[in-house]
Symmetry: D2
Subunit: 293 residues, 4 copies
């Protein structure tokens, strides 16, 4: 990671070498931005790069789209894509597709390219698997004008995340979100410590995969948020709390099985840059949750 102040001072070539990969195969954007230094904030830097891209001739803007790698495509598999894209696709599990899934993606990619003349581009870090498939299908049916705009918007989202990971300094970009929780015992009137919590993502209507786990501390919270420092993928999630174990230790004898043993809070994230605080406020016989601040 480089400091903005440093980037403001280095030679153009160093600047371009540092930020050339922010826009896939399009270092001319970084080149043009280098000549508009200095930047007061990272946000300004990004806004400038974005404006440069938006003001470019149509052919260059189209090339920005056409040069983007296929989603989970042969190119990605073969390693012939820029390192950032490979990392992003891996995060969505798109590097671990089964043969049928892979064939499906290839077919969708081909259909999309056929229809629009450029690859399907999406900021995969902002989508869970189900959301990704939904978006692909939905956008495949959109008009060419709409897709030019959608694809370009996605290129900017990808670029913003990459830039945020490369440059530190004043006025950072808002590219990360958070999922956090806390557990409160309303029978005892205090936080519930030592409760095992797991976070799962519903990757399809029938299957949920484990994302993170933690045990609540003395304040009833987890030492770190369950997701933070990255966009929260658009998806349905589920928090599972082994609250029965807590009540077995904490209070008067409860029946077996207890009314509340494993409590599940299922919720949807639509805003990858949002903060989702989803607490569990519980007694052995009741609980509540809400989207908190």
């Amino acid at each position: 990671m480089t400091d903005l102040a440093t980037l403001n001072a280095v030679p153009v070539s160093t600047f371009v070498a540092a930020l050339g990969g922010v826009f896939e195969h399009a270092p001319w954007i970084a080149e043009a931005a280098a000549h508009r230094r200095p930047f007061a904030t990272v946000t300004d830097l990004f806004a400038t790069m974005r404006a440069i891209a938006e003001a470019a001739p149509d052919g260059d803007r189209l090339a920005l789209l056409a040069g983007h790698p296929e989603l989970a495509g042969s190119a990605a598999r073969a390693g012939a894509v820029a390192p950032d894209s490979l990392a992003e696709q891996a995060a969505a599990g798109l590097d671990r597709l089964s043969e049928p899934e892979y064939a499906r993606f290839e077919a969708m990619n081909a259909a999309y390219r056929e229809r629009f003349g450029f690859p399907f581009i999406v900021c995969v870090k902002r989508h869970g698997r189900a959301s990704l498939l939904d978006a692909f299908a939905r956008r495949l049916a959109a008009s060419p004008e709409a897709e030019r705009a959608s694809a370009q918007a996605e290129v900017f989202r990808i670029a913003a995340i990459r830039l945020d990971a490369l440059v530190s300094g004043e006025g950072p970009l808002r590219t990360t979100g958070r999922i956090s929780t806390h557990v409160l015992d309303t029978a005892a009137g205090r936080p519930a410590a030592g409760v095992a919590v797991t976070l799962h993502e519903w990757v399809s209507d029938e299957r949920a995969v484990l994302i993170a786990g933690a045990v609540t501390n003395a304040d009833g919270r987890t030492d770190a948020p369950l997701i933070s420092g990255r966009p929260v993928p658009i998806a349905a999630y589920e928090l599972r709390f082994r609250i029965g174990d807590h009540f077995r230790k904490a209070g008067p004898a409860l029946p077996e099985p207890p009314f509340l043993d494993i409590v599940t809070l299922r919720f949807g994230v639509s805003d990858p840059e949002g903060h989702y605080h989803v607490p569990l406020v519980a007694s052995p016989w009741s609980y509540q949750t809400y989207r908190g601040s």
Copy 2:
């Protein structure tokens, strides 16, 4: 079903023919009870039959246990058990065991009989599958005195349910429980009608099976309880509410996916004769539940 008043009046043989199957292969209990008529309430009738059984010589009481069919055993499979037992075991899915499961049950039955001298007896209607397996394992390790008592207690539970299904009248037995729910929309301040609700039983730590489904009426309730008229099997359950569909229709535009789409309420039932009212009190961004009355 026969009326208590009628049973009080019929000849002994008719009485015995009607109630002889209440205790497996032991019509002598009904025979003795016939001579203690009339009974003011069904509860009195049962109490008398129970007292007759408890006061019988040890050999007769042991025979009451020995004569009980194996749980999912060859006898049950072959249809060579009294009709009530077959029906009860079917309810717990014990007539649909796979070969490995069947072999396991046979082995456990043999081990139990070997240890205690009578079959493993449990009122299967009061247990979900997981609870049944737990009970089997737990009781296999108990002392002979404890098991004489447990087995006899189960015989009485089975008998109570059978009697309750055979005789109507004053002072009925409390042998049935209930699971019910209602849905309240706290953003609108009124019941949520038209919400699809399903009830599932966790038959193992990983698998939940659909038990019942309904759609809430204008009062936010289901026309009938989700379980009623029978004991509620001891198990972990899950109510699933498609509350997202309700909020999509009911109010201002919400994001996709919505914060609340499918809400799951997972709870344990430990009292088969209990009333479990588990409501969902929800806004698009919060919900609560509690064991209600």
Copy 3:
């Protein structure tokens, strides 16, 4: 109370004697309605009387307003008004005004009559004291056309309540509302019995008066609703629960003073014919309420 079927059959004079007071000093409405018998439901009977009044010549309709007694006016004090009106004004405490208050009402009555040519008419049973004063002030500033309509609407509301009290039968009028509650102990997982509950009405921003009191039964409810069988006056109310006394008895030692001792639920009623079920769902350290069904 007379049965609708009976009223359908009696001579016209008997009918008029029974229902002549439904519209203040205007028995011609009952007279005309008598000739349109029989009525299938009480609702039909009222609809007919209403239609007769609405279709009458303007002079008659104005007389219907002019003949109505002053609110808490000299006439009412002197007892020179129809018995129903006196009873209605007493219910709102308007027969117990202090001299300054009385003088104020007289002044407002005079101003209203001066402006509109008929007395201020309002169905007092549907308003708490604060709401009544608000309505008086608000309507005093309305246009003559609006007030002709408002006053007539109030005459019909008053008539509906009187008819509902006089005639029983199929298809009753909806003229009554309800305030009810129940108390649930979420630490114990069952209803809280024996809890003292009082209902108060805020008659001004600083003063609340006791309306009703009860103790919860074994089901956590009060044997009868706190208000029922009459319209619930438009007002701000407050339920007070001595829940601290319950938790002192029910569970583990709590500090003094306890976190929850007297819990107050303050809520507004805008619909006198509505059902307001306002429960208290509480543990020693938390509680919730909502408008329930």
Copy 4:
């Protein structure tokens, strides 16, 4: 305020001048403590002063009690007491007593002194008015041994608060508590900003006095806790939220009066050094609160 490091270094006389008033009319404790420097933490310093007092001869310990000023007594009124005590009594409104109240306090003081031989000593900052009167009456009836201990314990509580106000540094004393809140709108799924909140103390069963007020910020919280930096007096409190104003602005048309207009949360504080976070989580038709962390 002086830094602990500084106090550790100054001459004994300076140390005594700074801390001599921590124990009323007993600078010998500070004198003895000066000779046990240096202290690593403020807590150690206090513990040492306390140990010195506890180890003193009975006569000195009794003098520590006897030298303490009367509660709201003539001495206090006449200003003949050490400045800290005057400030403390003013905080509890004991300097604004009416004549009858004053006479009552004088009588109770006299009765107490008569019975026990020293004045009634209580850390008034830790008690609301009602709690103070309760404590006075309760302790008046206690045994002499119990009161020697209670009075001495109160002297130490008073001393701890005074020392905490005089000395800053490592390992501070825990002598302050907090009352805070936040408001969450569960219909909109975000904090409720701009809500007027007031905190009141119930000084008697019928009268509540305003303690603090604030308006919630963008995060639904008040910029500072409603009480902080001092012990929270043992009392019953009430938070009042003008939530109706918020919902009128925020959402779809609601009836008048709204179901929720002014919401009151009444709760008790038993631990003056505790943190009482009492949030309001509300929709227009429901709300919850709990003792949070």
